[in-house]
Amino acid sequence: MKKLDCEKIEDILPLYLEGSLPEREAREVEKHLASCKRCFSSYEEWRRCFSALQSVPRLQAPATIWFKVKRELSHRRERKIAWFPALASLIGVSLVFIFIFLNLYRQPKSAPPALSQQPHYQVNLPSPTPPGIAKAVPVAPKIAKTIPTPQAKREIVLAKKQPQPFSPSSRGIPASPKLKETIVEEKIAERLEMALLSAQQAESSLERAFKALSGETGL
């Protein structure tokens, strides 16, 4: 092995001190240190550093950290559970609205022909419902059938569908464009009201389901 120079010694002194040098190389270092004052003083410096690092005592962690960890873990679990019913309600309400709006867009297209098909000269016999609204009547009970609404609210909605005493069409007067618009608007308002009721019901049933679920899991 080549004789080690001071620069090389300086580099491998930490390895010598931690005992990770091969034995033959360690002997070479010892020989060099015995004959070189400069390297020996460097060795002393390194030794002080190593003993300083070794002097640091180990500490005990406070056991209270566990309670903080436990509390935070249960908070995280709760947060994870909490967003589920919110998401379910959101999806439910969104589906109801999508259904309603799809119906609304379909309905105005079919409603006007019902009015326009009637010739202007024709004298309409007094009918219990205006012709435009008559077509819409089966739709509302359909929704009411699939999603039952409270009796009182249903009565309000149905009352709006009753013929108006001074309705122009009920007296056989031809429906003007303005009247058509009014009728369509009324229908939209009805659908919106029904949609709102359906959404409220969907939300309350989801809430009940969540409460039942919470009761089961004991949360």
Binding site: D11, P14, E45, W46, R48, C49, F50, A52, L53, Q54, S55, V56, P57, R58, L59, Q60, A61, P62, A63, I65, W66, K68, V69, K70, E72, L73, R76
Partner: protein
């Protein structure tokens, strides 16, 4: 120490069993706390970082496949937590270093304080290798696993870290 079947404890902790999690915490809390304390230099930070380490560990426990030991895996999380906090923080000043406050001080206390202060002035990566090698007494291979690097890189980093540490200690004692 009681003879624990770690595979079983880890499986139970993965399923969310609190008792198993507590066992893991109690067994490794000092190890994690010491790494955090030597990296931060402040007891308060060390407590917060230890808490964060275990929270991260329990959240990610399902992904622990046992390729390395649980201790190595926890060391890695602890080091990542420390490094992420240290990136946001500057070096530790002498005022921040806490050690045996209120106790009677002797030469050893001063030396420990010096070590902690010098560590605080080193770049976080140098601090990490020094802590893992000199305080935790991990092998080069273990340090490489914890730091997800090669043994060669660990040797280079450790050599530079020691040289820097020695320089700073000499400056302090001039």
């Amino acid at each position: 120490m009681e003879d624990l079947n770690w595979e079983e404890i880890i499986e139970r902790a993965k399923e969310g069993e609190e008792e198993a999690m507590e066992k893991i915490f109690m067994n490794f809390k000092d190890m994690v706390f010491n790494v955090c304390y030597r990296m931060s230099g402040r007891r308060e930070d060390a407590e917060d970082w230890t808490q964060e380490t275990f929270l991260r560990a329990f959240s990610a426990l399902k992904g622990f496949r046992g390729d390395s030991s649980l201790a190595t895996w926890l060391y890695r999380i602890a080091v990542n937590v420390c490094l992420s906090y240290l990136r946001k923080k500057k070096t530790v000043s002498l005022d921040e270093v806490e050690y045996k406050i209120g106790d009677e001080r002797d030469e050893d206390d001063d030396l420990v304080e010096q070590v902690q202060m010098v560590l605080g002035q080193l770049p976080p990566l140098y601090r990490t290798v020094l802590v893992l090698r000199h305080f935790e007494e991990l092998s080069y291979e273990e340090i490489a696993t914890v730091m997800k690097t090669s043994v060669g890189s660990v040797k280079i980093a450790l050599h530079r870290a020691r040289k820097k540490f020695k320089e700073k200690m000499e400056e302090l004692n001039k």
